[in-house]
Structure formats: C-alpha cells, structure tokens
C-alpha cells in the first residue's frame, strides 16, 4: 500500500511512550472525566452497541410472541411495553448515539482539528444522553418493581395523545419516558450545536466548505437539522409533562384539547428525525464507496446540494404519517407531493454512488460488502416509502406490517447496515487493529440472510391486513406461517449481531496490526497514527483539495488541479 509517504509531517505522533500502566480505577476515572472527542466518540458507540443488544433482545421477545397465532409467551401488557421500549431504544438510545459517535470521533479528524469546538459541552452532551437512556430504563424498576417486568411505558414510540393522559396511563411509566427523552434531547441539542460550531470554526487551513469530505457535510446538515427537529419534541414533551403534572389541557380532549395537535408536533419532530438517522448512514457510504471503488466521489457539488435539499424537504412532509387522521383532501395531496419530492434528491445520491462505482476497481472487503447491501436495501426501502406516500394506498397500509417492514428496511437495512460497515471501516483507526475479515464475512452473510428473511417477508402480512402493535392474532387469518418465517429471520439476525460483537472483542486483542492507512484511503484521519494521539495533529495540516492523501500519494495527478 501507498504507505511510504506516511505519516505526513503534520501528523507525527509525538506522545512519549507510556512508562507505567495505569491502574483500573485510573483508567475508569480517565474515561468518565474525559473531554477528548475521540474517547467520547468511543463511549457513544459502546453505548449504542449496548442498547442495540438490549433493543434487539426486546425485538427477539416480540418475535417469539408473534411467531404463532394466539401465543401466550407474554401478556399483552408486557408485549406493549416491549414494543414501545424497542422502538424508543433503537431510535433514541441506539441510532442517535451511534451517529453522534461517528461524528464525534471523525469530524474533528477529518477537518484537521485538534478537538471539538466545546470539549466540555461534548462530555456534558454524552452524559445527558446516557443519563436519559438509563432513566427511561429505570422505569422497569421504578414503577411496580421487576415483577411482571415493572411498569415501563406502553404507549408506542409515538405516544399518541390522549393515551398518554393520566386517565389512560396512570402510574409513572409515561413520565419516565417523557423526562428521559427531554434529558437525552438536551444532550442531542448540545451535540448538534457543538458539531456545527466545530465544522464552521475549527477547520484547518485550506479546508474550505467545498473541500470538506462529504462525511463532514452530511454531519453538518444533520446537526443543523437536529437543532430544529429535536427541539419540537422537547417542546411537545414539556407540554405533555404540563398536562400530566400541572393539570394542563394541551392534549386533554375532554377540555377541548386536541389529540391531532400532538400528532402534528410529534411528526414535525419524527419525520425529520428519520432523516437525521439516515443522513449519517449516507455519510458513511460517502466515505467507504469511493475508497473501495478507488475513485473520487462522482458529482461532489450535486451530493452536497442533494443532502441539504433532503434536509429542507424533510421539514415539510411530516403529515404523511397522518394520512388517516382525517385531513382535508388538499392537505393529503400536498403531503403526498412533498413526500414524493424527497425521492428526487435521494435518487441523485443513489445515482452518484452508482456512478462512483462505475469504471472503478471495486474491492469487496467487509465494509464494502455492507455498503453494497446498503445500496440495494435502501433502494427498496425508498421505493416502499414512495408507495406509502401515495395517500390512498396509505389508507390501507398505514399502521400495518407493511409500514413496519418499510421502516425496518431503512432502519436496519440501510442505517444499521451502514453502521456495521462504518465500524468495520474505522475500527482499525480507532484501535490500531484490523477486525477479523473471515468473521466479518460470516457476520455479513448471516445478517443479510436474516435481514431478508425477516423484513422481505414482513411486507406480506401487512398487505394481508395485519396491523402493527398487536400482541397476538387469530389463527384463521392466514398470517401464521409468514410470521414464523419472520421470527426465524430475526433469530438469524441475532446470531449475526452476536458474531459482530464477538468479532469486535476478539479483534481488539488479537486483531492484525493495522498501520495508519490500512484501506489506502484519502481523508485526513488516515494520516494520523492508529489510534490517533490525543491531540490528533502535532501541527496544523494545510490542505488544498478534497482528498489530501490522494494528492500526497499521487503527486503526478493531484486532485487540486481539477477542482
């Protein structure tokens, strides 16, 4: 590999060799009090993986219950808690921390900065998020104790009013949910502010906006989006708390309040939120696909425009989750159109990735395998999204397993897949060791098979009239076999996830040494040693193109001549 020129002069690791090993307590203290963006990034990722296992275990219980009609594996109350906690966990405690983990670790490195703009705010954000998550899970104990799986929230992840009112949800479970999300929301907003400020104010010399890696662009978009989408959720949760604790009437239908207002507020947050989750997945794809195709990204300006465009359009589509609540036909038509419009910039992105691969020399290492699956799966997921946006059809499909299949196709098939790919890709940078390639391939294929068995098949019960959020169903409905297949697929996914976790642990200790630049990549983080020293860059680098390491490795044909 083209390693000879590295490390570049600016990125020498000048850390003196450690003389003595710290004790366990000191290491712990070090991690808890750290303000280093890299350590916080790792903490975020570990937190996300922990909750992937927890949320995944909940999903497995859900699937056991649904595998057979009239199953008595769990009571309806427990089932309802499980699917609510599964959705909440996966979105807020797995998805968000994972994307912020990547952003935290990589953004400063990619823009040649030594840390985030506000390191202490960064630590505060992480601990708020962590606290919020633990708080929500404490509801399992805090309600009526562990017996009968406690008193966790059981109102669905979108918690439609007035089911959340005191009259219908007595006890404290819903409050844990609301307060936990407000807390982790503050963490998220803090992170958003921090990342925007870092990207605007901490770039190294020469890193103009149009030279930033697309990963950075997408995280800038996401963080800006976070500021205007998490905040409506916070506002709505505050209103919910006012209703529940101070006797307010925001969503109290008995006193003239409106249930539909909650839906609007939730989805004004909820829809952009799904793009908050998917744009970082795009960000990962934007880095991995070019490197493994050995080509520069195709149409960089178009990619930037499309990403920002998606973020903007996503602000005006929220009511496509509400086609069945009785909006006027004009509103239904409007939200149909705005939703379909999102397909255009998204299509541009897919086509640009295709064009990047076109004419390249594609190397199918594990990260690229995940990216290929990501492309196919996101394509299908997007197209089922288009079907849902056809509002009359959505009157049929809404709240059916077709929707569940659609969003898992994106959330698992695109986002989780991209996260896996990203972890395989950057693991060597973070730990200095490669992840095991053979286990990686097994992980990939098992996950692929499990995924398709689960979520391809899941569309069909939806078409056959199976609603979501039901803890059981009649035997004569003809959904039994399909659900059994879905459950088997979920079990296979579970094995794949465990293999992944195993691979991470084993590679951390036994993995092959990685070197600075194992993938022969082009962005600045690969110029640092692996793992990077705490100050990242000994001296500030100066860049003159989008792919600084390409220029370094190919002085005869540098990028900057073409940009």
């Amino acid at each position: 590999m083209a390693d000879q020129a590295l490390p570049i002069r600016g990125t020498l690791d000048l850390t003196p060799a450690q003389s003595k090993r710290d004790g366990m307590l000191e290491i712990l203290h070090d991690w808890i009090t750290t303000v280093d963006h890299k350590k916080l990034g790792i903490l975020y990722i570990l937190y996300a993986i922990l909750f992937l296992l927890v949320g995944g275990a909940e999903a497995l219980f859900i699937r056991i219950q649904l595998a057979f009609p009239n199953n008595h594996f769990m009571s309806p109350q427990v089932y309802n808690r499980f699917f609510t906690m599964h959705g909440t966990t996966m979105v807020f405690l797995m998805g968000m921390p994972a994307i912020f983990g990547f952003a935290n670790y990589l953004v400063p490195l990619m823009i040649g900065a030594r840390d985030m703009a506000f390191p202490r705010l960064n630590a505060f954000s992480f601990w708020m998020t962590a606290f919020g998550g633990l708080f929500i899970y404490y509801s399992f104990l805090g309600g009526s104790g562990l017996y009968g799986v406690g008193n966790a929230p059981d109102v669905g992840w979108f918690a439609y009013a007035p089911l959340t009112a005191r009259a219908f949800s007595p006890g404290n479970a819903t409050d844990y949910w609301a307060v936990g999300l407000i807390a982790s929301g503050f963490g998220t907003i803090g992170s958003g502010i921090n990342i925007v400020a870092t990207i605007f104010s901490m770039r190294c010399k020469g890193m103009t906006l149009m030279r930033m890696p697309l990963f950075v662009w997408l995280n800038l978009t996401v963080s800006a989006l976070v500021l205007i989408t998490i905040t409506p959720l916070t506002a709505a949760q505050i209103m919910l708390c006012i209703d529940r604790y101070l006797g307010g009437h925001f969503f109290d239908t008995q006193a003239g309040g409106s249930a539909v207002v909650w839906m609007h507020f939730f989805w004004i947050f909820g829809h952009p939120e799904v793009y908050v989750l998917v744009l970082p997945a795009f960000a990962i794809a934007n880095e991995i696909i070019p490197v493994f195709s050995r080509k520069a990204i195709f149409g960089y300006p178009a990619m930037v425009t499309a990403s920002v465009g998606i973020a903007f359009i996503s602000l005006s589509v929220w009511a496509h989750h509400m086609f069945t609540v009785g909006m006027t036909s004009a509103s239904n038509a409007f939200f149909t159109l705005s939703t379909m419009l999102v397909g255009i910039p998204t299509g541009i992105k897919i086509f640009n990735w295709l064009a990047t691969m076109w004419g390249g020399k594609i190397r199918f290492a594990t990260p690229m395998l995940f990216m290929t699956a990501f492309l196919f799966q996101f394509l299908i997921a997007g197209l089922t999204g288009i079907m849902l946006s056809v509002s009359p059809w959505d009157w049929q499909l809404h709240n059916s397993y077709f929707v569940v299949a659609h969003f898992h196709y994106v959330l698992v098939g695109a986002i989780l897949t991209a996260i896996f790919g990203g972890l395989y890709f950057w693991f060597p940078k973070v730990t200095g060791r490669m992840m095991d390639e053979r286990l990686g391939k097994i992980n990939f294929w098992l996950f692929l098979i499990g995924f398709h068995l689960t979520f391809d098949v899941m569309h069909i019960p939806g078409i056959l009239g199976m609603p979501r959020s039901i803890y059981t169903y009649e035997a004569n409905r003809g959904w039994g076999t399909l659900n059994l297949i879905v459950s088997i697929g979920a079990a296979i996914q579970g094995i794949a996830v465990l293999i992944f976790a195993y691979n991470m642990v084993i590679s951390l200790f036994k993995g092959e040494k990685a070197g600075n630049d194992p993938w022969d990549a082009w962005t600045l983080e690969w110029a640092c040693s692996s793992p990077p020293p705490s100050y990242n860059f000994a001296t500030e680098p100066v860049v003159i193109s989008r792919r600084p390491l390409w220029d370094l490795k190919h002085p005869e044909d540098p990028d900057w001549k073409y940009e």
Binding site: T324, W395, H398, Y473
Partner: protein, 347 residues
C-alpha cells in the same frame, strides 16, 4: 457469491410481483378470512387497489433499472485477480448526466402525484347519495359501538350494512367518533382505514359488493387489548338487513323463566355499565346488551358467543381478553348460571 446476491434480489422482485398479481387472482371476490387489500370488494378499496397496481408497476420498473445497473456495476467493475494495481481513471462528475437523473425522477413524481391526487379526491370528496345509510361508529377501549340514527338502533361490535351493487349503489356513510383514545376503523377489503379520534369527527364510506362477513380490526394502538379489538362487518341482503333492523328496534325480550337472572343483572354492577332496554340497566361504558344474542362473538371478536363462553366471560373477562375494562364480578356459581340463562334469551 455475487450471483447469489443477484438472485436474492430477483427473488425479492418476484415476491413483489407475486403480491401484485398472483395473490389477488387467487382470491375470489367476496369476503375472505384473510382480509387482503388485494382482494377489494367495495368502491374505495377497488379504487385504491387499481392505484396501487399502477404505483407498483412504476416503482417496480425503477427498481429493476436501478438494481440492474447496480448488479451490472458490481459484476463488471469488481477488481480482477490479475489486476495491475494501478488506480482507475478519476472522474469527478458530469453536469449533463447529473441533469438527466434529476429530470427523469421529477417527471416520474409528477405522474405519480397526479394519479394519486385524482384518487384522493375521488374517494375522499365523493358526493354522498341521499339514500345512503348513516352509521355513527364510536370507538371504545376495546370495543365498537354502532349507532344508526335513522333507525334508532344502538348495536355493538358487529356492524350490519346492506349490500350495494354497481348498478344500484347503496353505500354506508360512517361518522367516526371516539369515547376515549384514538382508534382506527380498518376493514381492508372494504376501504382504507380512518382514525377515530376524540373531539374530532371523521367520515368514511363503504359500499360492499357481496353479502357475507368481512373482517378487520382496530388499526391504531389504543391500549392493552388493542389486538383484540376486532371488527366484523356483516353485509346483508336488503331483506336480511331490514329484518335485522326490525329485530334491533325491539326492546329486550322479557322471559319470566329467567327473571332470576334479570334480577342479578339489575342488582349487580352490570347495570352501571350496560344497557338492556326495558330494564334499569342504562350504562354506556360497556356494549349495549339488549340484543346480545344477535351477535356471533363476544367482546369484539375475542370469543364465540355461546353460553359457556358467555358464562366464562362474566366470571372472568380476563380469560379471553386480559386487560379489558370489564371487571370480574365475583358472582357465585348460581348467580352466574342465572345470569347466563337470562342473557341467552336476549335475541
């Protein structure tokens, strides 16, 4: 390995095609035990079905083109064993190509949107024939109440409507209300779903083309027993419907042989929650029991309506529907027998 993946994708495509074309043909028209949206039997559902086939074709075509290109790229441009290790030519972009794949999707979106908009207006803003039957549907945690204002009937859990035909449309217009939380009315073969939201009146209509029993269920999570808030729509011939209406309009049967049971009903908490017209029971929290025996199921489809189940239900509703809002009444065996015997007369 790559070919395998290719095949996996083709299977996915096939599955979609199957869902689109084979399933609906496999089903005869008329009510089905599996309420497939691809076996529509009422104007709104048929319209949606037609639209969905159109959308499936377009999205299917997009899928085939894009997935085909992707597969081609993966196979054609993967690194060869005898690769020389040189980097491929670097291409940074092309405005023309970029423009092409912006404009074509825009055109597709325009087509999709216009077709969709037409269907939205056709279903949602369809003029209401003056002869239409009116029903108010009230969602309760976890059962359905059906009021027929024109006929002065209050029924529960099993909706009866007259059959309609293309020549002689006889639609039913439903006002959707809720007594507590959000629910959603969904009988896939008849129409898309519409939510029942407290303090927010919605409307929908159906005109079923065959007689028989159409099944569906509540489609908006509404609490513990959301899963057992099943919906049964009985589509009757005009004669059957008239007979049903006539029976429902009668007050409750008064049979001296079961006076003991009636006494239990009137002296226990039952009367606080249930109405039986002609008794002191006028509660509205639970279903109207005046014509309980005219229904095939108990507790919105949770159990078949027969004396054993009825007795068991009153003894312990949780044995069929754990978490339903009817409490177990702690009656002794004798009271239970009397009560069951009484209720069994309420034809």
């Amino acid at each position: 390995m790559l070919l395998e993946r290719h095949r996996a994708k083709r299977v996915t495509a096939l599955l979609f095609a199957l869902a689109a074309f084979i399933l609906p043909r496999a089903y005869a028209s008329g009510p089905q035990a599996t309420p497939s949206i691809f076996a529509p039997d009422s104007t709104p559902a048929i319209g949606i079905y037609g639209l969905s086939l159109f959308v499936l074709q377009i999205t299917g075509a997009i899928f085939l083109v894009v997935a085909g290109l992707l597969t081609y790229v993966i196979i054609r441009y993967r690194v060869k064993n005898n690769d020389d290790g040189r980097e491929p030519a670097q291409i940074y972009g092309s405005t023309q190509v970029e423009l092409a794949w912006t404009v074509i999707p825009i055109l597709i979106v325009v087509v999709l949107f216009l077709t969709t908009a037409r269907m939205i207006f056709a279903i949602q803003d369809a003029p209401r024939p003056t002869t239409a039957l009116d029903v108010s549907v009230v969602g309760h945690q976890f059962w359905w109440e059906f009021r027929y204002p024109q006929q002065g009937i209050v029924a529960a859990n099993e909706l009866h409507v007259p059959v309609s035909s293309t020549g002689q449309p006889n639609p039913t217009y439903m006002k959707l209300l809720s007594a507590d939380v959000d629910h959603s009315f969904w009988v896939p073969q008849l129409a898309g779903k519409t939510d029942l939201i407290p303090n927010h009146v919605n409307e929908m209509w159906i005109d079923p083309l065959h007689t028989g029993l159409y099944v569906g269920q509540c489609a908006q999570f509404c609490g513990t027993e959301h899963a057992k808030m099943l919906l049964r729509v009985y589509v009757d011939s005009p004669d059957q419907f008239a007979a049903w209406v006539k029976n429902q309009q009668l007050p409750a049967v008064q049979d001296p042989a079961v006076a003991a049971g009636r006494h239990v009903f009137e002296t226990q908490a039952c009367m606080n929650c249930h109405t039986i017209r002609g008794t002191v029971g006028t509660g509205h929290f639970g279903p109207d029991l005046t014509h309980l025996m005219s229904r095939d199921t108990l507790a919105s489809g949770a159990a078949l309506n027969n004396p054993q189940n009825l007795r068991q239900w009153i003894k312990d509703p949780d044995s069929f529907k754990p978490g339903s809002l009817m409490p177990a009444m702690q009656l002794n065996d004798e009271q239970l027998d009397q009560l069951t015997a009484y209720l069994a007369t309420l034809k």
